[in-house]
């Protein structure tokens, strides 16, 4: 165990790990611009229920290079053998995602781009006991979405935007 990084041990043991200050302001700004520029017709409904969120698909070319994040990820996953799909999630007031386990992918990265003000909901939780994870804008959560239950709390104020990446190992 002493050979392995804290992040790798935490991810393997608990199904998640948090990388703080992992992405640049440039990435945050670029993703906010995309959401701002998108019209409702460019967003895809997250699901059919009344609390549905919206999604905005991204191409790899939409994303600036993020060396700090890559270094963090490389401490946990074999980056050379990963296939990734990216998208943005947008949750507005009263929207959330219920408890679920993802059907696909082997790991997921979630980067908060915009979060509601303190007390405004829109937080991600994980595990059977729904533990709320402390995540600020610029942090990144790596979690095993295919094996641990997760969801978000309802947005009460403002909106929650996150950049997501679903990863498959070859």
């Amino acid at each position: 165990m002493s050979e392995e990084s804290f992040h790798k041990v935490q991810y393997q043991q608990l199904g998640y790990t948090i990388f703080t200050n992992a992405v640049s302001k440039h990435l945050i700004g670029a993703m906010r611009s995309k959401v701002f520029a998108a019209r409702d017709c460019e967003l895809i409904g997250g699901d059919e229920s009344t609390h549905s969120w919206r999604e905005f698909p991204l191409a790899a070319s939409d994303l600036p290079s993020e060396p700090v994040l890559k270094e963090y990820l490389a401490s946990v996953l074999p980056l050379a053998s990963i296939r990734i799909v990216h998208w943005l999630n947008i949750y507005r007031v009263d929207e959330y995602i219920e408890a679920h386990v993802d059907a696909g992918g082997e790991a997921q990265l979630m980067i908060p781009i915009e979060i509601p003000p303190s007390g405004g909901g829109g937080e991600i939780w994980i595990g059977a006991n729904e533990r709320l994870l402390p995540l600020g804008v610029g942090d990144a959560l790596l979690f095993a979405a295919h094996r641990v239950q997760h969801g978000t709390t309802k947005v009460l104020d403002g909106q929650r935007v996150s950049l997501n990446a679903r990863m498959w190992m070859h």
Binding site: F6, N129, R131, P134
Partner: protein, 242 residues
């Protein structure tokens, strides 16, 4: 991570590299948590230990019924040690420099016990207080424990501590020059006396803490009649109403 943060992380990684425990400190941590319980509703509150180290306050918080207290520390070694304990499923651990983490005011209460305060850029008292304030909700509470200039003489000397009765015997020398506002801590493991690590920590006076807290918009109150770790003083801080 800044160079200063890397140095601090390396020192604390070294301190934790051979395991060991600090069971002697547990009653002091429990007293801190009892003090905080009088200020915060533990059933609903979200709490953080900024600089959680080997987790003695996290354990006291979970024992007191706090759900998933968050432990933040620069030292990956201390956090990895914590993952190997029975606490791992009851706490949330984050490897971060809390002085630069942009988490926002999400905590109802924050504990910060013996942070490294020094002249090093980014670790002066005001920066630490400002960081703690930015993590805490309006009306929230911060319990801050600092080495105190009026009390450090109680802890100067040389100490040999055997953790767990195994391989972790550590020798510490704490020195304090009269008139100086800092202590020097020099440590080595008993079997490697030439591998010595040194650290200098500022020891602000009570008035300095009050003034610096006021400068960042908080009210500080020194706690008297508290079960106090030798050489230290405990403060409760609140964010002033605007």
């Amino acid at each position: 991570m800044s160079q200063a943060a890397e140095k601090i992380a390396a020192l604390y990684d070294w301190r934790c590299s051979r395991g060991g425990s600090t069971k002697d400190y547990e009653p002091f941590a429990a007293a801190d948590v009892t003090l905080l319980a009088g200020q915060t509703d533990f059933c609903t509150a979200r709490l953080c230990d900024a600089g959680c180290g080997n987790g003695i306050h996290l354990r006291a918080l979970t024992d007191a019924g706090v759900n998933y207290p968050v432990g933040v520390d620069l030292s990956k070694e201390s956090l990895r040690n914590l993952l190997a304990t029975d606490l791992a499923d009851s706490i949330i651990l984050v490897n971060a420099d809390f002085t630069t983490w942009r988490i926002g005011p999400i905590f109802h209460a924050v504990i910060c016990s013996l942070p490294v305060i020094s002249e090093v850029e980014g670790y002066d008292l005001r920066t630490i207080l400002s960081a703690l304030q930015s993590m805490t909700k309006q009306g929230g509470c911060i319990l801050l424990k600092l080495f105190d200039s009026e009390r450090v003489q109680d802890i100067t000397g040389t100490f040999s501590v055997i953790y767990d009765g195994t391989t972790s015997e550590k020798v510490s020398r704490i020195s304090h020059a009269p008139g100086h506002r800092s202590i020097d801590i020099s440590q080595h493991y008993a079997d490697t006396p030439h591998d010595t690590r040194r650290e200098t920590i500022d020891t602000p006076t009570r008035d300095e803490v009050y003034l610096e807290a006021q400068a960042v918009g908080m009210r500080a109150k020194s706690i008297d009649h508290h079960m106090e770790l030798p050489g230290t003083r405990t403060y409760l801080l609140r964010i002033s109403a605007e």
